[in-house]
């Protein structure tokens, strides 16, 4: 019997050791191509499109989707942290470029891209924000995958209603505001008054919904549109200098706080999905979100009541005291990068897929299925412009796009920004104090950096 016990003991250890590695090995050495992305509509669209690639080449493509609420960044950063090879391609946020490059996680594509990708067809801003790091260096680490920006959706049926137009005119007169028609707001101030009208005068309605959660980059993405429109900025990205503290940054934060008075009681802590849900509920007049979240709004299956009653517009402008008019929108979207930790054979396979994905025909299909292409020809094609009601806004949006820091320390910079803006918006911290805190900590974080290119 002791012999049998010994056999059971060693057998158990052996089985434990063998099977603990099984799942991973299948992922590493199998013939499938693993792509990591967020769990949202574009990822499902990519999976559907990739079936065509599988039919053409026999290579199976699996788009692994992880929630925006943290699981996506966690999965990607765990891959980076462990220098792992679970994924062949990582569709990472534009802000991750710096850490992907400095950490050695993204394969450099500087020589490969001009030879295999139609570079001249890509919108230059898309190459700048999604592919190049440091910006302006002409060193490439990703191909543009999902171009995106923050946009606005509004209830066209309400805006075009004569009853509301008359009531809105009366509302403005009552408050002594210079008259302007109820329609797409041209300035942030107009947007604020329209929101206030729906909040105060239309029972059961709220004026606006914007991403305001502490999660990931949500509240920062909403605020930064105002920051840039009011004339402020985060810093000089090329020189790694923080220049956030300014009267404009404070004014923009104060305006943001006031604007959110026209949101629902929970409107100061909304995620991307919550904003969509509020718009679907039909109880919000205007909502701001990334365009990639809009397909659910115009789909009769997911939005049966309002899918055909919506209008869209790009971020409005702000005119400062000197009469200077500024407009900007937050850059969203992601580039497609090859995981540098996979074998050369897998790298070649990943590049082959990226080459296929970048071709004109596939980009056209990608755009028509709901993805947002960075291919200029596709963006201007009549098929694309009429495929979805907001597609015609992209060309303008590309000209308005700006991004948060994409240095390797972006995570620490973002964490501070999220924390302080949330404190100002959710806990009434004085905007000046919040702005000062961000400046101080951004300076410290950038000063303490230890990496070199």
């Amino acid at each position: 019997m002791p012999g049998a016990n010994r056999l059971i003991a060693w057998g158990s250890v052996f089985i434990l050791l063998v099977f603990s590695g099984c799942n991973r090995e299948a992922g590493r050495n199998g013939s499938a191509l693993y792509i990591l992305w967020a769990d949202w509509e574009p990822a499902r669209t990519l999976q559907a499109l990739a079936e065509e690639y599988t039919r053409e080449t026999g290579v199976e493509v699996k788009v692994v989707r992880k929630s925006w609420d943290g699981a996506f960044t966690e999965a990607a950063f765990t891959e980076f942290r462990n220098r792992d090879d679970n994924y062949d391609i990582i569709i990472g946020d534009s802000q991750w470029l710096g850490l992907g490059v400095v950490g050695g996680h993204y394969l450099e594509l500087t020589d490969w891209m001009p030879a295999h990708i139609p570079m001249e067809d890509i919108v230059p801003q898309a190459l700048l924000w999604y592919s190049e790091w440091p910006q302006g260096s002409r060193r490439y680490f990703a191909i543009p995958c999902q171009a995106d920006a923050m946009g606005w959706v509004y209830r066209r049926d309400l805006f075009e209603s004569e009853t509301h137009r008359r009531a809105f005119a009366g509302f403005l007169e009552q408050r002594g505001i210079p008259d302007f028609p109820l329609g797409v707001p041209q300035t942030w101030e107009q947007l604020e008054w329209i929101a206030a009208y729906f909040q105060d005068k239309v029972p059961g309605m709220h004026g606006i919904a914007m991403p305001t959660s502490r999660k990931y980059d949500m509240i920062t993405m909403s605020y930064e549109q105002l920051l840039w429109a009011f004339g402020g900025d985060f810093g000089d990205y090329r020189r790694n200098r923080a220049t956030f503290q300014s009267p404009e940054a404070v004014e923009a934060l104060q305006f943001f706080n006031d604007l959110l008075k026209s949101s629902s009681p929970g409107g100061r802590n909304l995620g991307f999905g919550d904003v969509t849900a509020q718009m679907l509920s039909g109880r919000v007049a205007m909502a701001c979100n990334f365009f990639a979240f809009f397909p659910a709004l115009v789909n009769p299956a997911t939005n049966p009541d309002y899918y055909d009653k919506l209008g869209f517009f790009n971020a409005p402008a702000h005119v400062d005291r000197n009469g200077v008019k500024r407009r900007a929108t937050s850059l969203g979207g992601q580039g497609m990068s090859v995981n540098a930790h996979i074998s050369p054979a897998r790298q070649a396979r990943a590049k082959a897929f990226m080459q296929w994905f970048s071709s004109r025909d596939i980009q056209q299909k990608w755009a028509l299925k709901g993805g947002i292409s960075a291919n200029q020809e596709v963006l201007q094609s009549p098929d694309f412009l009429t495929a979805l009601p907001y597609n015609s806004l992209f060309e303008e949006a590309f000209g308005l796009m700006k991004d948060f820091w994409s240095t390797p320390e972006f995570g620490a910079l973002l964490e501070v920004t999220q924390r302080e803006i949330c404190a100002a918006i959710q806990r009434d911290k004085a905007p000046l104090d919040a702005v000062k805190a961000i400046q101080t900590e951004h300076e410290r974080i950038l000063h303490e950096r230890r990496w070199k290119l």
Binding site: G70, L99, R214
Partner: protein, 283 residues
């Protein structure tokens, strides 16, 4: 015998001792595993930084955790003991009610946290709907602390009830009968028999709950995320945030982990002392 101990010892060495030593080494370095290939020696900076940081975030997280321990363990004890007093009596359906009361304790904290998140949702949550209020229970709002407290109390009151019930059932009935013979009133019997005799075991339950609440993470994480400087940034949440969010500073988080370890060891010593006290009292 030695052969069977071998795998267990090997696992202990690989899964506990080795990581513990690695994190000790890391606590003396600056290391962001996402962008650094090598750790840079930092001496005692990570440890001194815990106490001298401008925002006193570590102190504040300990204070928050302390406040949660006092409030949660206090409420759980009072409510659990009261429930135990009620459940000690025989009545129809007692078994069913006891089982129902124990359900919260058996749920996973993550599942329970998701459930409470819906209860506390500002726009469509059950709480705001029932009480017809528009309270915000999350984010940087101070009420977020209350949300975690309520969820913890709901989940762990049954544990204190169970411990209290065991303590109450352990009191010899003869003491109550003698007291009745001596015409002792209800309050007198409660004050001089029930409380002192149940106290050692209830105190032990409180020690367990204190140690457990000190580590609270999942409930707070699910209800309000792993962010620094929120009303729900308890020590474990701060540790996780430092290691896996924002700056990904493994050195700083390892130093904080060792500070937590020191406090935990202190608590373990208190538990051992409490156990000894209970044994002596029983003897």
């Amino acid at each position: 015998m030695g052969l069977f101990l071998g795998p267990a010892l090997l696992l202990l060495l690989l899964m506990d001792i080795l990581p513990l030593l690695c994190s000790l080494a890391l606590s003396f370095t600056h290391f962001n595993p996402i962008i650094d290939t090598d750790a840079a020696f930092a001496g005692l900076k990570n440890y001194s930084g815990l106490f001298t940081g401008e925002r006193h975030e570590v102190w504040r997280s300990f204070l928050r955790t302390g406040a949660l321990i006092v409030a949660a363990v206090g409420l759980e004890t009072v409510l659990g003991f009261t429930l135990a007093l009620l459940m000690r009596r025989r009545f129809r359906g007692q078994g069913w009610l006891t089982t129902a009361l124990l359900i919260p304790m058996m749920l996973s904290p993550a599942i329970m946290g998701s459930f409470w998140r819906y209860v506390f949702n500002t726009d469509y949550g059950l709480w705001n709907w029932i009480f017809n209020v528009r309270w915000s229970w999350d984010g940087a709002q101070p009420r977020a602390f209350l949300a975690v407290l309520l969820a913890e109390v709901w989940m762990w009151t049954p544990f204190m009830m169970l411990i209290s019930l065991a303590a109450l059932n352990g009191i010899p009935k003869v003491l109550y009968e003698s007291a009745r013979v001596d015409r002792a009133g209800r309050w007198f019997r409660f004050r001089h028999i029930t409380l002192p005799l149940a106290a050692p075991l209830v105190a032990l339950g409180m020690v367990f709950r204190t140690v457990d609440t000190f580590k609270v993470f999942d409930t707070a994480m699910v209800l309000n995320g792993n962010f620094e400087e929120q009303p729900t940034t308890f020590v474990s949440v701060l540790l996780h945030a430092k290691a896996f969010a924002g700056s990904h500073s493994l050195g700083e988080s390892s130093a904080l982990a060792y500070l937590m370890l020191a406090v935990s060891v202190g608590m373990a010593a208190a538990t051992a002392y409490a156990l000894k006290a209970v044994r002596e009292k029983r003897a």
